[in-house]
Symmetry: C2
């Protein structure tokens, strides 16, 4: 499929999709007319990139994560160690996100009564 459909399916701007080709993160085949031609697998990679980027992973992180699924010659033990270190990062992010959510929930609840403490829980926001 052409770039616009790829962008639609992956929920990314066309510009961004083109950029990911430029930096060789997702490099589609080309048609005879020079148009990029995206496969279903390319779309999956793009969708993955959209998710991982919105979760605060850098493009280099993403490149590493994608490579886990691509490089068939890589030793399993290496794949495992990269995956495990990423899992640790993700679990740290999960904890922070949960605490951020709890803090905001408290704040929203305190608004229900339409009475809000002077400076509600900035301490909470700053983390434990």
């Amino acid at each position: 499929m052409k770039i616009q459909q790829a962008a639609t399916l992956s929920e990314l701007p066309v510009k961004t999709v083109r950029y990911y080709d430029e930096i060789e993160l997702v490099s589609p085949d080309r048609q005879d007319n020079g148009y990029r031609f995206y496969s279903d697998k390319d779309i999956e990679k793009l969708r993955f990139l959209g998710r991982a980027r919105s979760l605060g992973f850098s493009l280099e992180d993403c490149r590493q994560l994608l490579s886990l699924y691509e490089d068939k010659n890589r030793a399993s033990s290496e794949v495992k160690s990269i995956a495990e270190s990423k899992i640790l990062e993700i679990e740290a992010k999960l904890i922070e996100l949960q605490s951020l959510r709890d803090t905001l929930t408290k704040l929203a609840d305190s608004c229900s009564g339409d009475e809000r403490p002077d400076c509600p829980i900035l301490e909470g926001l700053a983390g434990n």
Copy 2:
């Protein structure tokens, strides 16, 4: 306290702390010699910024979130609606992070037996 201690306590680079002053996100008082002087409250804001940025919120998101805790004249109902929309964003991120973690866990597990499927779960990676 001076900028280096602020950076240490907030676990941010000095450069970044200075940058947040420049864009008026966290603007400390100045001492007579021109040095920035950070209060405990400034540190809390910086710590919050470090967390929120690593979770994929833009600086403008952060500015909005910080303003929830600052603008005492804002109507409670408005605070509540901003907080609630941010909570929705956070919960979406939580779900994606969990699914990413599960995918990587499966991958790491499949490596244990030192035998990995040809193209393991790229579909899972691309999200449901």
